[in-house]
C-alpha cells in the first residue's frame, strides 16, 4: 500500500487555533502523526524580564483566553507562597467562584466546538448560546468578558455583593436547566455516539505513561485532579473528580459534560459558604526563591515554575499548560483511525494552541 502524507492544519475548518499535524496515511487509515507547532508562539515567558512581578499577572492571564483567571490564580498562588503571604479566606472563596465560572464557560465552549467537529451545527450553536449567559456573569462581576482580571497578589480586586451573588445563582440555575436539556443529546444521541464511542482510545496505562492531564486523564479512568490538593478554598468544598473508564472520545466528552454540572454545584457551594472579611492583604517585599505552583484548569493540570531573585523582575517564569502535556497522548490516539475521525479525536483533548506555545 502506498503511503500518503496529508498535512492537517494549521488552517482547518475544525480548528479554532493553528495546529499542524503531518498525518502519514495508508489508504484512509492513519499510521503516524507528527505535530508541528510555532504558529502562535509569542514568548510570553520572557516578558518576565521587562515587566515587574505585579504586571506579570495581566500577562499570565493572556496566555489563554478561555481560562484566563485560572492562569492568574496559579501565578498569584505561586508568588504568595514564595513571599509567605496568607490570603484572606474570602478571597480564596472568590477565586474558586471565578475559576469555576470559567470552567463552565470553557466546557460549554468546548462542547460546542466538539459538536461542530462531527458536524452537529445546531448543537454547537445551542452550547454557545448557553455560554453567553456565563460570559455575562463574567462581565458583570469581573468587568471584562474574557480576561476578568480579578486576581492580584494577596487576594482579589473585586468583591461580590449579596445581590450580585443572588443574581449569579439565578443565572446559573438557568444555565443548568439549559445544559440539562442537552444531556440527552450529548450523552445518548445516536449520531453523537456513532462518531465518538470507541474512537481514539487511550488506556489507563498509556495515559499515565504519556503524561496526560485533566479530562483526558480522567476520561481514561484515573481519578486525578489537582483540586484534590485543596488549594484556594477547594479543601473546604465537597469535591470528587468525575471519571469515565473507556478512554475514548465519548468518555472525555462525558467527563467534561458532567464537570459542567459539578462546576455549577461548586459555585453554589462556595457562595453559600462565602465567609465575610477582607478580600486582599498588602504585599511588601520581592519574591525570592523557586516554587512550583499547580492548579486545575478546564483542560487539566497547569504548572507554573517561578524563580525570583529578590528583584522586581522574576528570574524565570515557566508555564506548562495542559495542552502541552496532552499532545503526546494525542499522538498515540491517532494511529489506526480513519482520516474522517481525526478532527473528532484532535478536538477531544480540547487543544488550546496559544496556551501550548505561549
Amino acid at each position: 500500500m502506498a503511503r500518503t502524507i496529508i498535512p492537517f492544519g494549521p488552517q482547518h475548518p475544525v480548528f479554532p487555533e493553528p495546529l499542524h499535524l503531518k498525518l502519514v496515511l495508508e489508504d484512509e487509515i492513519v499510521k503516524e502523526a507528527v505535530p508541528a507547532l510555532g504558529y502562535v508562539h509569542r514568548g510570553l515567558e520572557m516578558l518576565a524580564d521587562i515587566r515587574d512581578y505585579h504586571q506579570m499577572i495581566q500577562i499570565c492571564e493572556r496566555v489563554c483566553g478561555i481560562c484566563s483567571t485560572i492562569h492568574a490564580q496559579c501565578y498569584c498562588q505561586g508568588i504568595e507562597e514564595l513571599m509567605g503571604i496568607e490570603v484572606p479566606a474570602r478571597a480564596k472563596f472568590l477565586r474558586v467562584i471565578w475559576a469555576e465560572i470559567h470552567r463552565v464557560q470553557s466546557h460549554l465552549l468546548w462542547l460546542g466546538l466538539f459538536a461542530d467537529a462531527f458536524g452537529f451545527e445546531s448543537l454547537f450553536m445551542q452550547c454557545w448560546k448557553i455560554r453567553e449567559r456565563v460570559m455575562d456573569i463574567n462581565e458583570a462581576t469581573g468587568g471584562n468578558r474574557v480576561n476578568v482580571s480579578v486576581n492580584i497578589i494577596g487576594g482579589v480586586k473585586r468583591d461580590l455583593a449579596p445581590d450580585m451573588t443572588r443574581w449569579i445563582l439565578s443565572e446559573l440555575d438557568l444555565v443548568e436547566q439549559e445544559v440539562k436539556r442537552l444531556e440527552k443529546v450529548l450523552l445518548h444521541d445516536y449520531t453523537v455516539k456513532k462518531r465518538t464511542v470507541g474512537k481514539g482510545v487511550l488506556t489507563k496505562d498509556q495515559a499515565l505513561e504519556l503524561g496526560a492531564v485533566g479530562p483526558t486523564l480522567r476520561g481514561s479512568g484515573v481519578a486525578q485532579d489537582i483540586r484534590q490538593l485543596g488549594y484556594a478554598a477547594y479543601g473546604d468544598l465537597s469535591y470528587t473528580p468525575v471519571v469515565a473508564k473507556d478512554g475514548d472520545a465519548y468518555s472525555r466528552n462525558r467527563v467534561r459534560f458532567l464537570e459542567t454540572y459539578q462546576a455549577i454545584a461548586l459555585v453554589r457551594e462556595a457562595i453559600s459558604k462565602l465567609p465575610p472579611g477582607e478580600i486582599s492583604v498588602k504585599v511588601k517585599g520581592k519574591p525570592e526563591g523557586e516554587i512550583v505552583s499547580r492548579v486545575e484548569q478546564p483542560r487539566g493540570e497547569l504548572m507554573y515554575y517561578i524563580k525570583g531573585n529578590g528583584k522586581k523582575n522574576l528570574d524565570r517564569l515557566r508555564i506548562r499548560t495542559p495542552t502541552f502535556a496532552n499532545i503526546p497522548p494525542l499522538l498515540s490516539m491517532l494511529p489506526g483511525i480513519e482520516l474522517a475521525d481525526v478532527p473528532v479525536i484532535v478536538l477531544s483533548i480540547d487543544p488550546c494552541i496559544s496556551c501550548t506555545e505561549r
Partner: protein
Amino acid sequence: MTEGIIVFNMTPNVLRNFFSKSATRLYPKETRETFGNVRGELYNKIEACIFCRTCARKCPSQCITVDTKEATWQCDPFVCVYCGVCVENCPKKCLYQKNEYRKPAIEKEVIFMKGEIKKEKTEEDQQEK
C-alpha cells in the same frame, strides 16, 4: 426501549428555539444595557492630573505616556488591555473608565490630553517621591 437507536433528541431544543424570541440582537441598531462594573474606555480628568507617571509605570501593556514637563497625558487605546490597573493606582483618582467598550475602528488614534502644571501640584509630587 432498547439501547438501539435514540434519535431526534435535539428536536425539542430546536422547536423551543423556533418558538422563543431570538437569542441575538440586531446590533448595532439594538444594544444591550451595559453592566455597572464594566471596564470600558479609559479617560483622564486632565484638570485634576498631577502627571506623577504612576499610571505609565504600572501599566502592563505600557500604553500610557506622560510628559511631566509638558504636562501631557497620552494613551494608545488600541494597545490598552483594559485591565484597570492604572485606575486603581491613580493617587488623584483622575483616571476613570466608562461602562462602554470602545467601538471598532478602521483607523488607529491616540488619546492626547494636555493639562497644566500647578505650583502646589509639583510639591505634592515631590512629597510622594
